[in-house]
Symmetry: C2
Subunit: 381 residues, 2 copies
């Protein structure tokens, strides 16, 4: 704990208070798999200049701070928002739908840190297999900010990318201590040099016409079931802005209403509001009709599916396929999930091509209980 | 204030504390139109046995307590809920879509009390014109619990009933002091005797088949754009239960998303949840498809309408047509609305058939401001 206080410039008492308030939490599990880390804490909330998810680790290389990935703000209309926030050229980068991971090197090994600041065993195992470590030997001060996407994702499994397992797409290269992002050209050069996949850059346009181009890009991404775009200043001097497709908003809503007992009303509300502004800006009559049906179906099909499952005596569950290359990592991941407070069950591992497939079930207890209560003939509230 | 303390069996200090906490509020405006009332307070929250909306009035007849209308609980599924909560026969009464009013007599005049416990000048004027006061001379202990429905409603204007002005439909006759409701047969007899309109009784069925009959009744009411049913024990010994049509849920959602800055997420969420359970219980494939479109359109059309208004430089407003027979009552109503904390504007009264038509505008400031902020190119949150 003392090293955290020193790293953040706090008195030991102040650091202890952050821990008591649960703002500072242990961020890893002591295990030979994480042998380069002696101790590590993460910030569960923004604190001073440090973003939520910032990691403070005592490692074999000394104490390291890995800044949290900054929140990207959202546009609800393309016009005049893009014009108002950027100057000159802007880049549209695909916002891929997975989970946000920062990859760093401590000692001789890579570590993958999820958005909240935990060092994740599952993701770390894959990063060590897929990411070229030479990058970090040449650039020890940098981190790769990636989207971890694919079907075998413990957090956001998606099949729209044709990735059966999981892969990493770099969207930012940042100084891990200052959080400064490299210009897009430099990021591209490094990706080329070290063989990283990049979140696709879809267009580079002048702000004056950006909203028009964005409409087409968004419609096209929507047709493919993709999430949306991040609008970036090529020099990364201005804050990026995100904007999502209707299909992605609706997919979120399906998820939220399938598990309506677990998901917050704010989550649902914000996605519905996005659809309203997008309908206003993008739709002709035909598109609007399709959007209404899409929204209604996203919500109701998901709910009816959960209600039917409970009627059939099942529990409402979210179910993910995972793959481990080392069963020790599976054990670590189980402990990791337990510490994150997730109500989870796992199948027995099934060997397949020198790896192990495991089914990960998150039981949605509140949704299950609330539906059961209603189906037993009880009243709402 | 002393009479309130005495009526509720409280010390004057305890009553004063209720007032300070804003649980006790003045319920009327001192004016010759309310000449039988010397002073009146209402409960803004349930307190002991007294429902929210209970009125405690010092009148020319002495101190009177008029109990608040009890909250009616909601079924999300017809089966097995009806079966579980009732025995023998049940009555399906139409739940009309207006606002809940209790009508009583103080001195020589009728008084109309809205759900929250205010004596409403607008509604009182209409009650004095439309309700036969002899009933109260014969039954001074009773109150008429009515739905005030029609186009000229300051709170819930609806045109589905073919009522151009406003009218009262009695659904309960209750002892105003004990809140005990008369059996349905007695209510019908009294309505017949004194010429009151009743909320339509649509069916009387045995609980064993009630859920099947209810499905047809609900579909039929839905087609007509009506709100739903209240399921009652003919003897009014068990608590009634309400159940609403999809069209009514969607109409609520339209309203909520048209004024999304003013309406709570709980309001929206609960209505969406109702649609999910009703889809599960009632729909075949075709009906389900129509329901999805109806839900999506209810939400998005309303939002787009508000966004367009703001783009055109207008304020988002709810707009109601009212009619006064006495301009003094109009003045009183303006003061009433002001006290209720509503942000309102009124048109000049226009004389029409010995009455005055007035347009009542509620400016939805939060919705207007939030839309304007987005349309100016600002980011969400």
């Amino acid at each position: 704990m003392k090293f955290v206080a020193e790293a953040l410039g706090l008195s030991p008492v102040a650091a202890r208070r952050l821990e008591e308030k649960n703002i500072l939490k242990q961020a890893f599990i002591r295990h030979p798999f994480f042998s380069d880390v002696i101790d590590a804490f993460k910030l569960d909330r923004k604190f001073g200049e440090y973003e939520e998810g910032t990691l403070i680790a005592k490692t074999v290389d000394g104490v390291q701070i890995v800044r949290g990935y900054p929140k990207i703000r959202r546009a609800l209309t393309l016009y005049p928002t893009i014009k108002k926030h950027f100057r000159g050229e802007v880049v549209f980068e695909e916002k891929m739908n997975g989970y946000n991971v920062r990859i760093v090197m401590f000692g001789e090994n890579l570590y993958a840190i999820t958005r909240g600041g935990y060092i994740c065993p599952y993701t770390t195992e894959k990063a060590r297999m897929l990411i070229n470590p030479d990058f970090f030997k040449d650039h020890p001060n940098l981190m790769l900010c990636c989207e971890a996407v694919g079907e075998e994702s413990p957090f956001v499994p998606k099949d729209v990318y044709g990735i059966k397992e999981i892969d990493f797409y770099v969207f930012d290269v940042r100084d891990r201590r200052t959080n400064e992002a490299l210009p897009i050209r430099e990021k591209e050069k490094l990706a080329d040099e070290y063989g990283f996949k990049l979140a696709p850059i879809l267009a580079e346009v002048h702000v004056s016409e950006a909203h028009e181009v964005a409409k087409d890009v968004i419609r096209e991404l929507g047709r493919k079931g993709r999430e949306g775009i991040v609008i970036k200043d090529p020099n990364m001097k201005r804050q990026p802005i995100k904007y999502t497709t209707s299909e992605s908003n609706c997919s979120d809503l399906s998820f939220a209403f399938r598990f309506f007992g677990e998901y917050g009303k704010d989550f649902m509300f914000s996605r519905i509001i996005r659809e309203g502004f997008q309908a206003f800006e993008l739709d002709d009559e035909e598109e609007f009709k399709r959007r209404c049906t899409r929204l209604g179906e996203a919500i109701l099909k998901a709910m009816v599916e959960s209600i039917r499952e409970v009627r059939e005596g099942k529990k409402v569950c979210d179910r993910m396929r995972l793959r481990f290359y080392d069963l020790e990592v599976f054990e670590l991941f189980k402990e990791h999930v337990r510490r994150m407070g997730v109500n989870a069950e796992f199948s027995e591992p099934i060997e397949e091509n020198r790896s192990y497939v495991v089914w990960f079930y998150r039981h949605m207890k509140s949704t299950t209980d609330r539906i059961r209560h209603i189906l037993e003939g009880n009243l709402w509230q």
